[in-house]
């Protein structure tokens, strides 16, 4: 049975279904059992599974990450949550040196089945320290898997796969996707980590992105079609590490024009990796145009007067595509002061 549910609900449902199925799954993090339930993603879980399996934690991100690793080594499948990806910077040592390397450095004797949920903030003045999208830091590390879904359906299926995975999975959610709705099966299902999908078919150019970037790409794709008669293909990577090489190359071969759309700064970003993966595998003469686009290379300012121009969005994507296709036209829409909320119902503060 499919219902229209949002990503937050999809996360909640995936967690619940896994906890029912696997007695060794537990979830913890700041605010997990609190009235807001991590933007609704954990609401009700404590009532269902008790405070042994669903619990709050001290403000000690590094230590608690270690605790999660230890519990994973000793028979459990912990899920740890961070309301902002920035808080996880305190636990980089455990994630990169320990969790990512443990299976390798024990020659396979100990696995680390572990999900680290991190949320990327955006809008309403979040400012420099609450709005980063740091996926490429994790993407660089062999031993980690990094998942960044866009749609509710993928979110549910990928979270289930992440929880079932025997490895540390960094599961990155975008705050503005929590409220996006889609028909999602009620059943327990999985989507393969490392598999992308075509979010919308097209021929003239490939827009390759992930997570919230897909939202902007789809908007751009529609405008390109309707206003400029350009057919673009939107590729939703869904996973950052491993990347779905096949889907990227297939689309690139078809359109021969590729725009990689970053959710972060493009320098040393996912978009750089997409580009390089393509040039690693296709001859340059078979590529007509290849480019990337990302946020302005400064910290994200708090004021919406500046933040509105900080983000790469559907307007910048459309204009970049026009430029790549050698069009003289311009899409003249301006960024709006009130674009700092995901939708009108949002009234701050987080």
């Amino acid at each position: 049975m499919d219902r229209n549910i949002d990503c937050a609900t999809a996360i909640n449902e995936a967690t619940e279904q896994c906890m029912k199925k696997y007695k060794n799954v537990f979830i913890f993090g700041l605010g997990v059992p609190d009235p807001k339930g991590i933007f609704g993603t954990t609401t009700g879980l404590q009532k269902k599974f008790g405070n042994q399996r669903v619990f709050d934690m001290p403000l000690a991100e590094n230590g608690m990450m270690g605790v999660a690793v230890g519990a994973a080594l000793n028979g459990f499948r912990p899920i740890i949550t961070h309301q902002r990806i920035e808080f996880a910077l305190l636990s980089m040592e455990q994630i990169i040196n320990q969790a990512a390397k443990w299976n390798y450095m024990t020659a396979g004797k100990q696995k680390v089945p572990l999900v680290i949920r991190m949320i990327v903030g955006k809008g309403w003045g979040q400012g420099p320290q609450h709005s980063q999208s740091l996926e490429s830091l994790f993407g660089h590390i062999p031993g980690l898997k990094v998942v960044m879904p866009f749609s509710p359906k993928d979110t549910k299926g990928l979270l289930i796969s992440s929880i079932e995975d025997n490895n540390p999975v960094v599961f990155i959610e975008h705050r503005w996707l929590h409220s996006i709705k889609q028909k999602v099966p009620k059943s327990y299902y999985k989507i393969k980590i490392g598999s992308g999908r075509i979010a919308s078919k097209g021929n003239d150019i490939s827009l390759i992105s992930y997570s919230y970037g897909i939202f902007e790409c789809l908007k751009a794709s529609k405008i390109l079609k309707e206003k400029f008669n350009i057919s673009s293909e939107v590729v939703d990577l869904r996973t950052i590490r491993p990347l779905d090489k096949n889907i990227i190359l297939k689309s690139a071969k078809k359109t021969k024009r590729i725009l990689a759309v970053d959710n972060s700064w493009k320098s040393f970003g996912v978009s750089a990796e997409i580009i390089s993966l393509i040039t690693d595998n296709l001859k340059t003469k078979d590529i007509k145009k290849i480019a990337r686009i990302g946020n302005v290379e400064v910290p994200c300012p708090s004021t919406r007067a500046l933040a509105k121009d900080f983000y790469c969005n559907y307007i910048s994507i459309v204009n970049k595509v026009l430029e790549m296709l050698g069009s003289k036209k311009k899409y003249l829409k301006k960024n709006n002061l009130n674009d700092d909320v995901p939708d009108k119902s949002f009234k701050g503060p987080f």
């Binding site: 305190l90 420099p128 300012p301």
Partner: protein, 320 residues
């Protein structure tokens, strides 16, 4: 003393009134940044900062409004910052969570819990190297004492004998999380500080008189011994963790607990105290309040009428 207390009182009530005004204006959706209001906790900020000089540096965290104002931070620049305007204390780039007024000795606040603690220690360390005896005062919440960096910071402050006043505002909550899901029974920040080699004290953060007295003693200790000192004040935030509303409907705090603390409202307490001491206080209060009202009105007007930063500011200030 009366005059002095009047001054202190007016600082406290000013903070309360500003915060309340922010809360009421927030619904207009023009201050578009997360705000962590200090309503209920004004006595600690006011009392502690009343004992500091301009050269003394204060650092705070996400809940910085009261500290900023108590240390003498400019109100207009603060409000402009909340409105995201060019005239803001950091040009709108930071918002409520990054207030700063260097001329008042108020260093930039940051919203990563615990992160200003070692930075404050570094500021104090620099003062020591410069051979001045300024105090560095670091405000921190009960939640931040759970971060490893809190411990590392206290250790280093002790090792290097730095002139630091640590002020822990224990409001019993970290967002919605009560003590018992984060700290073992009877855990005490003050005891932890002592095991890190600091002397310290604790007190009732609702009583401005007590805050002032204990701060004075703490500062005397620092000056005399050239060593850090740790203060823990119990206090309570009256409204939600982040945002302008009351959220007691969510029932994460006991009604009896809330009432107990509302009874101990620091503003009420000082007003009661002053009314007893000074028969004319009720008239003086009127005057104080209307003066502040005027200032607030002007400052909000200033902020609202200030310009947004122009787009060219976006790329400025990446490097210094």
């Amino acid at each position: 003393m009366n005059k002095n207390l009047n001054k202190i009182y007016s600082k406290m009530i000013r903070i309360r009134m500003i915060e309340q005004k922010i809360a009421s204006m927030y619904a207009e959706q023009e201050m578009r940044c997360p705000v962590h209001l200090s309503i209920g906790q004004e006595a600690v900020a006011t009392g502690v900062c009343s004992q500091l000089k301009t050269n003394d540096i204060v650092l705070s965290a996400h809940r910085a409004h009261a500290h900023y104002l108590a240390k003498g931070g400019d109100l207009k620049k603060m409000l402009s910052e909340l409105y995201g305007k060019e005239n803001g204390c950091v040009m709108g780039k930071g918002g409520s969570m990054h207030l700063a007024d260097l001329s008042a000795g108020f260093y930039p606040a940051v919203p990563i819990v615990g992160s200003t603690i070692p930075i404050g220690v570094g500021v104090a360390f620099a003062n020591k190297m410069k051979k001045n005896s300024n105090i560095t005062c670091i405000f921190l919440g009960d939640g931040s004492t759970e971060e490893g960096v809190f411990h590392e910071s206290l250790d280093f402050a002790s090792l290097k004998n730095l002139n630091i006043l640590f002020v822990c505002e224990n409001n019993f909550y970290s967002v919605y999380s009560p003590m018992n899901v984060r700290q073992f029974e009877n855990r005490s920040a003050l005891n932890l500080a002592k095991s890190h080699g600091l002397q310290g004290n604790r007190g009732d953060g609702s009583s401005i008189i007590e805050v002032i007295k204990k701060t004075k003693n703490g500062i005397n200790y620092i000056k005399k011994n050239k060593k850090p000192f740790f203060l823990e004040f119990q206090t309570y935030r009256f409204i939600e963790h982040c945002g302008p509303n009351n959220d007691d409907n969510l029932k994460y705090r006991d009604k009896s607990e809330i009432e107990k603390w509302l009874d101990k409202d620091p503003i009420k307490l000082i007003e009661k105290y002053m009314s007893k001491k000074n028969k004319k206080f009720i008239f003086e209060k009127e005057k104080i309040i209307s003066k502040i009202n005027l200032e607030i009105k002007k400052s909000f007007n200033y902020a609202k009428n200030s310009k947004f930063p122009s787009s060219k500011r976006l790329k400025e200030h990446l490097y210094g």
